[in-house]
Amino acid sequence: MKKYLKPCVFILSLIPFLIIFYKILFNQLGPEPVKEITHHTGEWTLIFICLTLAMSPLKRLTNFFIWISFRRMLGLFIFFYATLHMLTYVIIDYRLDFESISKDILTKKFIFVGFAAWLLLVPLALTSSKKAMIFLKDKWKKLHRLIYIIAILGVLHFIWLVKKDLTEPLIYAVIVIALMLFRFKFKKI
Protein backbone atom coordinates (compact mmCIF):
# COMPACT_ATOMS: atom_id res chain seq x y z
CA MET A 1 0.00 0.00 0.00
CA LYS A 2 2.69 2.42 1.11
CA LYS A 3 4.66 2.09 -2.12
CA TYR A 4 1.70 3.35 -4.16
CA LEU A 5 1.34 6.52 -2.14
CA LYS A 6 4.20 8.42 -3.73
CA PRO A 7 3.14 7.71 -7.34
CA CYS A 8 -0.37 8.79 -6.34
CA VAL A 9 0.90 12.12 -4.99
CA PHE A 10 2.95 12.54 -8.17
CA ILE A 11 -0.07 12.03 -10.42
CA LEU A 12 -2.25 14.30 -8.27
CA SER A 13 0.43 17.00 -8.46
CA LEU A 14 0.35 16.84 -12.24
CA ILE A 15 -3.39 17.54 -12.45
CA PRO A 16 -3.04 21.36 -12.47
CA PHE A 17 -0.60 20.99 -15.36
CA LEU A 18 -3.00 18.71 -17.23
CA ILE A 19 -5.85 21.18 -16.68
CA ILE A 20 -3.96 24.08 -18.25
CA PHE A 21 -2.71 21.80 -21.05
CA TYR A 22 -6.29 20.78 -21.78
CA LYS A 23 -7.43 24.42 -21.73
CA ILE A 24 -4.71 25.44 -24.18
CA LEU A 25 -5.48 22.53 -26.50
CA PHE A 26 -9.24 23.09 -26.54
CA ASN A 27 -9.18 26.88 -26.44
CA GLN A 28 -10.81 27.15 -23.02
CA LEU A 29 -8.62 29.93 -21.67
CA GLY A 30 -11.14 32.77 -21.98
CA PRO A 31 -10.70 36.33 -23.26
CA GLU A 32 -7.19 36.84 -21.84
CA PRO A 33 -5.50 33.47 -22.42
CA VAL A 34 -1.93 34.44 -21.55
CA LYS A 35 -3.03 35.94 -18.25
CA GLU A 36 -5.02 32.80 -17.52
CA ILE A 37 -1.93 30.58 -17.96
CA THR A 38 0.19 32.98 -15.90
CA HIS A 39 -2.33 33.11 -13.05
CA HIS A 40 -2.94 29.36 -13.06
CA THR A 41 0.74 28.42 -12.86
CA GLY A 42 1.43 31.19 -10.32
CA GLU A 43 -1.41 30.12 -8.09
CA TRP A 44 -0.31 26.49 -8.12
CA THR A 45 3.25 27.50 -7.30
CA LEU A 46 1.92 29.15 -4.12
CA ILE A 47 -0.26 26.14 -3.32
CA PHE A 48 2.73 23.81 -3.63
CA ILE A 49 4.78 26.12 -1.40
CA CYS A 50 2.07 25.77 1.25
CA LEU A 51 1.83 22.00 0.76
CA THR A 52 5.59 21.57 1.03
CA LEU A 53 5.73 23.65 4.18
CA ALA A 54 2.83 21.67 5.66
CA MET A 55 4.56 18.28 5.57
CA SER A 56 6.73 18.64 8.64
CA PRO A 57 3.91 20.07 10.84
CA LEU A 58 1.70 17.18 9.62
CA LYS A 59 4.36 14.71 10.66
CA ARG A 60 4.49 16.19 14.13
CA LEU A 61 0.72 16.35 14.48
CA THR A 62 0.01 12.83 13.25
CA ASN A 63 3.25 11.07 14.12
CA PHE A 64 3.31 9.53 10.64
CA PHE A 65 6.68 9.80 8.97
CA ILE A 66 5.13 9.22 5.55
CA TRP A 67 4.52 12.98 5.12
CA ILE A 68 8.25 13.71 5.04
CA SER A 69 8.72 11.29 2.15
CA PHE A 70 6.47 13.52 -0.01
CA ARG A 71 8.33 16.68 0.79
CA ARG A 72 11.09 16.51 -1.79
CA MET A 73 8.66 15.72 -4.61
CA LEU A 74 6.29 18.51 -3.60
CA GLY A 75 9.25 20.87 -3.41
CA LEU A 76 10.27 19.93 -6.92
CA PHE A 77 6.71 20.64 -8.05
CA ILE A 78 7.13 24.17 -6.65
CA PHE A 79 10.08 24.52 -9.00
CA PHE A 80 8.13 22.93 -11.87
CA TYR A 81 5.14 25.30 -11.60
CA ALA A 82 7.33 28.33 -10.82
CA THR A 83 9.36 27.62 -13.94
CA LEU A 84 6.24 27.27 -16.09
CA HIS A 85 5.00 30.53 -14.57
CA MET A 86 8.26 32.35 -15.33
CA LEU A 87 8.51 30.89 -18.85
CA THR A 88 4.93 31.89 -19.64
CA TYR A 89 5.89 35.47 -18.82
CA VAL A 90 9.24 35.39 -20.64
CA ILE A 91 8.32 33.36 -23.73
CA ILE A 92 4.56 33.58 -24.33
CA ASP A 93 3.81 37.02 -22.92
CA TYR A 94 7.00 38.93 -23.76
CA ARG A 95 8.34 36.69 -26.56
CA LEU A 96 11.93 36.84 -25.25
CA ASP A 97 11.93 40.64 -25.44
CA PHE A 98 14.71 40.89 -22.84
CA GLU A 99 14.83 44.66 -22.97
CA SER A 100 11.23 44.97 -21.75
CA ILE A 101 11.68 42.08 -19.32
CA SER A 102 14.75 43.55 -17.63
CA LYS A 103 13.00 46.92 -17.43
CA ASP A 104 10.03 45.22 -15.76
CA ILE A 105 12.29 43.45 -13.26
CA LEU A 106 13.95 46.71 -12.30
CA THR A 107 10.87 48.95 -12.21
CA LYS A 108 8.11 46.69 -10.93
CA LYS A 109 8.73 45.41 -7.44
CA PHE A 110 6.33 42.47 -7.75
CA ILE A 111 8.27 41.17 -10.76
CA PHE A 112 11.55 41.79 -8.95
CA VAL A 113 10.60 39.66 -5.95
CA GLY A 114 8.98 37.04 -8.17
CA PHE A 115 12.10 36.69 -10.25
CA ALA A 116 14.28 36.64 -7.11
CA ALA A 117 12.14 33.86 -5.66
CA TRP A 118 12.54 31.79 -8.84
CA LEU A 119 16.33 32.30 -8.80
CA LEU A 120 16.48 31.11 -5.19
CA LEU A 121 14.57 27.99 -6.15
CA VAL A 122 17.24 26.95 -8.65
CA PRO A 123 19.93 25.88 -6.13
CA LEU A 124 17.29 24.03 -4.12
CA ALA A 125 16.15 22.08 -7.17
CA LEU A 126 19.76 21.33 -8.14
CA THR A 127 20.62 19.98 -4.68
CA SER A 128 17.47 17.94 -4.19
CA SER A 129 19.11 14.56 -4.82
CA LYS A 130 20.31 12.20 -2.08
CA LYS A 131 23.84 12.56 -3.44
CA ALA A 132 23.81 16.32 -2.97
CA MET A 133 22.38 15.84 0.49
CA ILE A 134 25.27 13.58 1.50
CA PHE A 135 27.83 15.78 -0.20
CA LEU A 136 26.66 19.02 1.47
CA LYS A 137 26.09 17.42 4.90
CA ASP A 138 24.81 20.02 7.40
CA LYS A 139 25.15 22.81 4.85
CA TRP A 140 22.27 21.16 2.98
CA LYS A 141 19.82 21.89 5.76
CA LYS A 142 20.92 25.51 5.96
CA LEU A 143 20.67 25.92 2.19
CA HIS A 144 17.19 24.46 2.08
CA ARG A 145 15.97 26.88 4.72
CA LEU A 146 15.85 29.29 1.75
CA ILE A 147 12.35 27.92 1.17
CA TYR A 148 11.08 30.19 3.98
CA ILE A 149 12.44 33.24 2.21
CA ILE A 150 11.05 31.97 -1.09
CA ALA A 151 7.61 31.52 0.51
CA ILE A 152 7.64 35.09 1.81
CA LEU A 153 8.79 36.47 -1.55
CA GLY A 154 6.10 34.43 -3.32
CA VAL A 155 3.35 35.87 -1.14
CA LEU A 156 4.76 39.40 -1.51
CA HIS A 157 4.80 38.88 -5.29
CA PHE A 158 1.05 38.20 -5.12
CA ILE A 159 0.27 41.03 -2.67
CA TRP A 160 2.05 43.62 -4.79
CA LEU A 161 0.49 42.47 -8.02
CA VAL A 162 -3.12 42.73 -6.84
CA LYS A 163 -4.94 45.91 -7.82
CA LYS A 164 -7.32 46.38 -4.90
CA ASP A 165 -8.90 43.25 -3.46
CA LEU A 166 -6.24 41.68 -1.21
CA THR A 167 -8.39 38.78 0.03
CA GLU A 168 -6.68 36.02 -1.97
CA PRO A 169 -3.03 36.98 -1.36
CA LEU A 170 -3.78 37.53 2.34
CA ILE A 171 -5.16 33.99 2.61
CA TYR A 172 -1.80 32.70 1.38
CA ALA A 173 0.02 35.07 3.73
CA VAL A 174 -1.94 33.72 6.72
CA ILE A 175 -1.27 30.09 5.73
CA VAL A 176 2.45 30.66 5.18
CA ILE A 177 2.82 32.59 8.45
CA ALA A 178 0.88 29.92 10.37
CA LEU A 179 3.07 27.14 8.93
CA MET A 180 6.19 29.05 9.94
CA LEU A 181 4.93 29.86 13.44
CA PHE A 182 4.23 26.19 13.91
CA ARG A 183 7.93 25.42 13.49
CA PHE A 184 8.92 28.22 15.81
CA LYS A 185 6.61 26.93 18.52
CA PHE A 186 7.92 23.39 18.30
CA LYS A 187 11.50 24.54 18.60
CA LYS A 188 10.69 26.33 21.86
CA ILE A 189 8.98 23.32 23.37
Binding site: I24, E32, K35, D104, K109, W160, K164, D165
Partner: protein, 301 residues
Amino acid sequence: MKKIRYSEITPEKIYINRRSFIKSIGIGAGSIAVTSLPFTNSALSKEDDKHTSFKDITTYNNYYEFGTSKSDPYIKSQNFKTNPWNISIEGEVDNPIKISMEEISETLVSEERVLRLRCVEGWSMVIPWMGFSLSKLLSKVTLTSKAKFVKFESVYDPDQMKGQRYPVLNWPYKEGLRIDEAMHPLTTVVTGLYNKKLPNQNGAPLRIFVPWKYGFKSAKAIVKIELVEKMPTSSWMWASPREYGFYSNVNPNVNHPRWSQATERVIGNNIFAPRVKTLMFNGYGEEVANLYAGMDLKKFF
Protein backbone atom coordinates in the same frame (compact mmCIF):
# COMPACT_ATOMS: atom_id res chain seq x y z
CA MET B 1 -11.93 78.16 -19.51
CA LYS B 2 -11.87 77.28 -23.14
CA LYS B 3 -15.25 77.71 -24.76
CA ILE B 4 -16.25 75.20 -27.38
CA ARG B 5 -17.89 76.82 -30.32
CA TYR B 6 -20.85 74.95 -31.67
CA SER B 7 -19.11 74.66 -35.02
CA GLU B 8 -16.40 72.55 -33.41
CA ILE B 9 -18.84 69.82 -32.56
CA THR B 10 -19.24 67.32 -35.34
CA PRO B 11 -22.78 67.51 -36.70
CA GLU B 12 -24.99 64.57 -35.98
CA LYS B 13 -25.67 63.90 -39.65
CA ILE B 14 -22.02 63.12 -40.24
CA TYR B 15 -21.99 60.60 -37.41
CA ILE B 16 -25.05 58.85 -38.68
CA ASN B 17 -23.97 58.69 -42.27
CA ARG B 18 -20.29 58.15 -41.83
CA ARG B 19 -20.35 54.37 -42.22
CA SER B 20 -22.25 54.42 -45.49
CA PHE B 21 -20.12 57.37 -46.56
CA ILE B 22 -16.89 55.48 -46.02
CA LYS B 23 -18.30 52.34 -47.58
CA SER B 24 -19.41 54.23 -50.65
CA ILE B 25 -15.99 55.67 -51.40
CA GLY B 26 -14.06 52.60 -50.41
CA ILE B 27 -11.21 51.84 -48.05
CA GLY B 28 -8.69 53.97 -49.92
CA ALA B 29 -10.50 57.13 -48.98
CA GLY B 30 -10.34 56.28 -45.30
CA SER B 31 -7.54 58.73 -44.74
CA ILE B 32 -9.62 61.61 -46.06
CA ALA B 33 -12.25 60.86 -43.50
CA VAL B 34 -9.79 60.91 -40.61
CA THR B 35 -9.38 64.66 -40.48
CA SER B 36 -13.05 65.50 -40.49
CA LEU B 37 -14.59 62.56 -38.64
CA PRO B 38 -13.22 61.78 -35.22
CA PHE B 39 -14.72 58.29 -35.04
CA THR B 40 -12.95 56.91 -38.06
CA ASN B 41 -9.77 57.42 -36.15
CA SER B 42 -6.48 56.39 -37.67
CA ALA B 43 -6.08 53.77 -34.95
CA LEU B 44 -9.42 52.32 -35.92
CA SER B 45 -9.03 52.21 -39.64
CA LYS B 46 -6.27 49.61 -39.45
CA GLU B 47 -7.38 46.33 -40.91
CA ASP B 48 -6.37 44.25 -37.90
CA ASP B 49 -8.56 46.25 -35.55
CA LYS B 50 -11.35 43.72 -35.42
CA HIS B 51 -14.34 44.47 -33.22
CA THR B 52 -14.09 42.55 -29.98
CA SER B 53 -16.78 39.87 -29.79
CA PHE B 54 -20.07 40.66 -28.05
CA LYS B 55 -19.36 37.77 -25.70
CA ASP B 56 -15.97 39.10 -24.57
CA ILE B 57 -17.27 42.67 -24.20
CA THR B 58 -20.15 41.51 -22.03
CA THR B 59 -18.49 38.79 -19.92
CA TYR B 60 -15.07 40.27 -19.17
CA ASN B 61 -15.64 43.43 -17.15
CA ASN B 62 -14.23 45.51 -14.35
CA TYR B 63 -17.25 46.66 -12.38
CA TYR B 64 -16.38 46.38 -8.70
CA GLU B 65 -19.92 47.29 -7.63
CA PHE B 66 -20.78 43.71 -8.58
CA GLY B 67 -17.52 42.10 -7.43
CA THR B 68 -13.81 42.26 -8.13
CA SER B 69 -13.53 39.29 -10.47
CA LYS B 70 -13.86 39.85 -14.22
CA SER B 71 -16.77 37.43 -14.44
CA ASP B 72 -18.71 38.90 -11.48
CA PRO B 73 -20.41 41.75 -13.39
CA TYR B 74 -21.98 39.42 -15.97
CA ILE B 75 -23.02 36.83 -13.37
CA LYS B 76 -24.25 39.19 -10.66
CA SER B 77 -25.82 42.09 -12.57
CA GLN B 78 -28.56 40.32 -14.50
CA ASN B 79 -31.35 41.33 -12.08
CA PHE B 80 -30.13 44.88 -11.62
CA LYS B 81 -33.05 47.30 -12.06
CA THR B 82 -32.40 50.23 -14.41
CA ASN B 83 -35.99 51.41 -14.71
CA PRO B 84 -36.96 53.99 -13.55
CA TRP B 85 -33.68 55.90 -13.77
CA ASN B 86 -33.04 59.61 -13.32
CA ILE B 87 -29.91 61.62 -13.76
CA SER B 88 -29.45 64.94 -12.05
CA ILE B 89 -27.27 67.60 -13.61
CA GLU B 90 -26.40 70.13 -10.95
CA GLY B 91 -23.71 72.25 -9.33
CA GLU B 92 -22.34 75.24 -11.23
CA VAL B 93 -25.34 75.57 -13.55
CA ASP B 94 -28.07 78.21 -13.75
CA ASN B 95 -30.81 75.63 -14.07
CA PRO B 96 -30.15 72.29 -12.34
CA ILE B 97 -32.28 69.51 -13.83
CA LYS B 98 -33.33 65.98 -13.14
CA ILE B 99 -33.79 64.09 -16.36
CA SER B 100 -35.26 60.61 -16.86
CA MET B 101 -33.79 57.93 -19.12
CA GLU B 102 -36.91 58.11 -21.29
CA GLU B 103 -36.45 61.80 -21.85
CA ILE B 104 -32.79 61.27 -22.73
CA SER B 105 -33.54 58.57 -25.30
CA GLU B 106 -36.41 60.63 -26.73
CA THR B 107 -34.43 63.82 -27.17
CA LEU B 108 -30.91 62.60 -27.93
CA VAL B 109 -30.18 60.21 -30.78
CA SER B 110 -27.62 57.47 -30.17
CA GLU B 111 -25.32 56.58 -33.04
CA GLU B 112 -22.83 53.80 -33.43
CA ARG B 113 -19.33 54.82 -32.34
CA VAL B 114 -16.58 52.26 -32.73
CA LEU B 115 -14.03 53.20 -30.08
CA ARG B 116 -11.00 51.55 -28.57
CA LEU B 117 -10.95 50.73 -24.85
CA ARG B 118 -7.57 50.50 -23.14
CA CYS B 119 -7.69 49.20 -19.58
CA VAL B 120 -5.00 50.32 -17.14
CA GLU B 121 -4.35 46.60 -16.56
CA GLY B 122 -2.79 46.32 -20.00
CA TRP B 123 -5.56 44.89 -22.17
CA SER B 124 -7.69 46.44 -24.87
CA MET B 125 -10.93 45.99 -26.79
CA VAL B 126 -12.56 47.59 -29.83
CA ILE B 127 -16.19 48.27 -28.98
CA PRO B 128 -19.07 49.31 -31.24
CA TRP B 129 -20.82 51.53 -28.70
CA MET B 130 -24.12 53.31 -29.18
CA GLY B 131 -24.13 56.85 -27.84
CA PHE B 132 -23.83 60.59 -28.32
CA SER B 133 -21.47 63.34 -27.22
CA LEU B 134 -21.67 64.37 -23.58
CA SER B 135 -21.71 68.00 -24.74
CA LYS B 136 -25.21 67.41 -26.11
CA LEU B 137 -26.49 66.28 -22.75
CA LEU B 138 -24.76 69.19 -21.04
CA SER B 139 -26.37 71.62 -23.48
CA LYS B 140 -29.61 71.02 -21.56
CA VAL B 141 -28.21 73.21 -18.78
CA THR B 142 -26.50 76.60 -18.76
CA LEU B 143 -23.06 76.46 -17.19
CA THR B 144 -21.90 79.21 -14.87
CA SER B 145 -18.42 80.68 -15.26
CA LYS B 146 -17.29 78.56 -12.30
CA ALA B 147 -17.97 75.28 -14.12
CA LYS B 148 -14.35 74.18 -14.60
CA PHE B 149 -14.71 70.44 -13.99
CA VAL B 150 -17.36 67.77 -14.38
CA LYS B 151 -17.85 65.20 -11.64
CA PHE B 152 -19.64 61.94 -12.38
CA GLU B 153 -21.27 59.90 -9.69
CA SER B 154 -22.39 56.31 -10.18
CA VAL B 155 -25.34 54.71 -8.45
CA TYR B 156 -25.07 53.59 -4.81
CA ASP B 157 -27.33 50.64 -4.15
CA PRO B 158 -25.70 47.98 -1.95
CA ASP B 159 -28.95 45.98 -1.91
CA GLN B 160 -28.57 45.29 -5.59
CA MET B 161 -24.82 45.70 -5.89
CA LYS B 162 -23.18 43.27 -3.52
CA GLY B 163 -19.70 44.60 -4.18
CA GLN B 164 -20.70 47.88 -2.53
CA ARG B 165 -21.16 46.09 0.80
CA TYR B 166 -17.37 45.98 1.07
CA PRO B 167 -15.15 49.05 1.22
CA VAL B 168 -13.16 48.05 -1.87
CA LEU B 169 -13.52 51.64 -3.14
CA ASN B 170 -15.12 54.69 -1.56
CA TRP B 171 -18.63 54.21 -2.85
CA PRO B 172 -20.36 55.62 -4.78
CA TYR B 173 -17.88 55.48 -7.65
CA LYS B 174 -16.74 58.96 -8.60
CA GLU B 175 -14.92 60.17 -11.68
CA GLY B 176 -14.20 63.49 -13.28
CA LEU B 177 -13.07 65.41 -16.34
CA ARG B 178 -11.88 68.92 -17.02
CA ILE B 179 -14.63 70.90 -18.72
CA ASP B 180 -12.86 71.01 -22.09
CA GLU B 181 -12.33 67.24 -21.96
CA ALA B 182 -15.99 66.77 -21.11
CA MET B 183 -17.06 69.00 -24.02
CA HIS B 184 -14.84 67.18 -26.53
CA PRO B 185 -17.00 65.42 -29.13
CA LEU B 186 -15.21 62.11 -28.48
CA THR B 187 -16.40 62.08 -24.86
CA THR B 188 -19.40 59.86 -25.25
CA VAL B 189 -22.53 59.14 -23.27
CA VAL B 190 -23.08 55.44 -23.92
CA THR B 191 -26.57 53.92 -24.07
CA GLY B 192 -25.87 50.69 -25.93
CA LEU B 193 -23.43 48.46 -27.77
CA TYR B 194 -23.60 46.19 -30.81
CA ASN B 195 -26.87 47.93 -31.69
CA LYS B 196 -28.49 46.64 -28.51
CA LYS B 197 -29.49 48.25 -25.24
CA LEU B 198 -26.51 48.62 -22.92
CA PRO B 199 -26.13 45.39 -20.89
CA ASN B 200 -26.17 45.82 -17.08
CA GLN B 201 -22.59 44.59 -16.73
CA ASN B 202 -21.38 47.33 -19.09
CA GLY B 203 -22.90 50.15 -17.05
CA ALA B 204 -26.62 50.30 -17.95
CA PRO B 205 -28.61 52.32 -18.41
CA LEU B 206 -26.10 55.06 -19.10
CA ARG B 207 -22.35 55.45 -18.78
CA ILE B 208 -19.56 57.70 -19.94
CA PHE B 209 -16.87 56.58 -22.33
CA VAL B 210 -13.64 58.55 -22.80
CA PRO B 211 -11.62 56.62 -25.40
CA TRP B 212 -8.25 58.32 -24.89
CA LYS B 213 -8.16 57.62 -21.15
CA TYR B 214 -7.75 54.38 -19.22
CA GLY B 215 -11.02 52.51 -18.83
CA PHE B 216 -11.62 53.34 -15.17
CA LYS B 217 -12.16 57.02 -16.15
CA SER B 218 -15.38 55.95 -17.89
CA ALA B 219 -17.87 55.72 -15.01
CA LYS B 220 -20.84 53.36 -15.28
CA ALA B 221 -24.51 53.61 -14.21
CA ILE B 222 -24.40 57.36 -13.72
CA VAL B 223 -26.99 59.09 -11.53
CA LYS B 224 -25.38 62.48 -11.01
CA ILE B 225 -23.39 64.86 -13.15
CA GLU B 226 -22.10 67.77 -11.12
CA LEU B 227 -20.37 70.84 -12.52
CA VAL B 228 -17.72 71.98 -10.07
CA GLU B 229 -15.03 74.61 -9.76
CA LYS B 230 -12.27 72.50 -8.18
CA MET B 231 -10.72 69.32 -9.53
CA PRO B 232 -12.75 66.43 -8.09
CA THR B 233 -11.07 63.42 -6.45
CA SER B 234 -11.99 60.23 -8.26
CA SER B 235 -12.48 56.93 -6.46
CA TRP B 236 -9.22 55.52 -7.80
CA MET B 237 -7.25 58.66 -6.94
CA TRP B 238 -8.63 58.35 -3.44
CA ALA B 239 -7.59 54.68 -3.31
CA SER B 240 -4.04 55.22 -4.55
CA PRO B 241 -3.00 58.70 -5.68
CA ARG B 242 0.47 57.49 -6.61
CA GLU B 243 -0.92 55.03 -9.14
CA TYR B 244 -3.96 56.83 -10.52
CA GLY B 245 -3.84 60.45 -11.52
CA PHE B 246 -6.77 62.72 -12.34
CA TYR B 247 -5.99 62.79 -16.06
CA SER B 248 -5.10 59.11 -16.58
CA ASN B 249 -4.60 59.62 -20.30
CA VAL B 250 -3.39 56.48 -22.06
CA ASN B 251 0.34 57.13 -22.15
CA PRO B 252 2.97 54.48 -23.01
CA ASN B 253 5.67 56.70 -21.48
CA VAL B 254 4.23 56.83 -17.97
CA ASN B 255 5.06 53.65 -16.11
CA HIS B 256 2.68 51.98 -13.71
CA PRO B 257 4.00 49.97 -10.73
CA ARG B 258 2.12 46.87 -11.85
CA TRP B 259 1.22 46.81 -15.49
CA SER B 260 3.22 47.58 -18.57
CA GLN B 261 1.80 50.64 -20.25
CA ALA B 262 4.12 50.42 -23.25
CA THR B 263 2.28 47.45 -24.71
CA GLU B 264 -1.12 45.82 -24.41
CA ARG B 265 -2.87 42.52 -25.05
CA VAL B 266 -5.83 42.60 -27.42
CA ILE B 267 -8.79 40.75 -25.94
CA GLY B 268 -9.90 37.84 -28.08
CA ASN B 269 -6.46 37.07 -29.49
CA ASN B 270 -5.02 33.60 -28.98
CA ILE B 271 -1.91 32.83 -26.93
CA PHE B 272 0.40 33.10 -29.93
CA ALA B 273 -0.57 36.68 -30.73
CA PRO B 274 2.06 39.22 -29.67
CA ARG B 275 1.43 42.22 -27.47
CA VAL B 276 0.76 45.38 -29.45
CA LYS B 277 2.32 48.77 -28.85
CA THR B 278 0.14 51.11 -26.85
CA LEU B 279 -0.44 54.41 -28.65
CA MET B 280 -0.30 57.83 -27.03
CA PHE B 281 -3.85 58.92 -26.14
CA ASN B 282 -4.89 55.40 -27.20
CA GLY B 283 -4.47 56.49 -30.83
CA TYR B 284 -6.70 59.57 -30.51
CA GLY B 285 -3.81 62.05 -30.32
CA GLU B 286 -4.84 63.82 -33.50
CA GLU B 287 -8.17 64.71 -31.92
CA VAL B 288 -7.23 65.38 -28.30
CA ALA B 289 -3.51 66.21 -27.99
CA ASN B 290 -4.30 69.94 -28.25
CA LEU B 291 -6.23 69.75 -24.97
CA TYR B 292 -2.92 69.18 -23.20
CA ALA B 293 -0.66 71.56 -25.09
CA GLY B 294 2.17 72.76 -22.86
CA MET B 295 1.37 70.33 -20.05
CA ASP B 296 3.96 67.92 -18.63
CA LEU B 297 1.97 64.70 -18.96
CA LYS B 298 4.48 62.79 -16.83
CA LYS B 299 3.68 65.10 -13.96
CA PHE B 300 -0.05 65.38 -14.69
CA PHE B 301 -0.51 61.67 -15.32
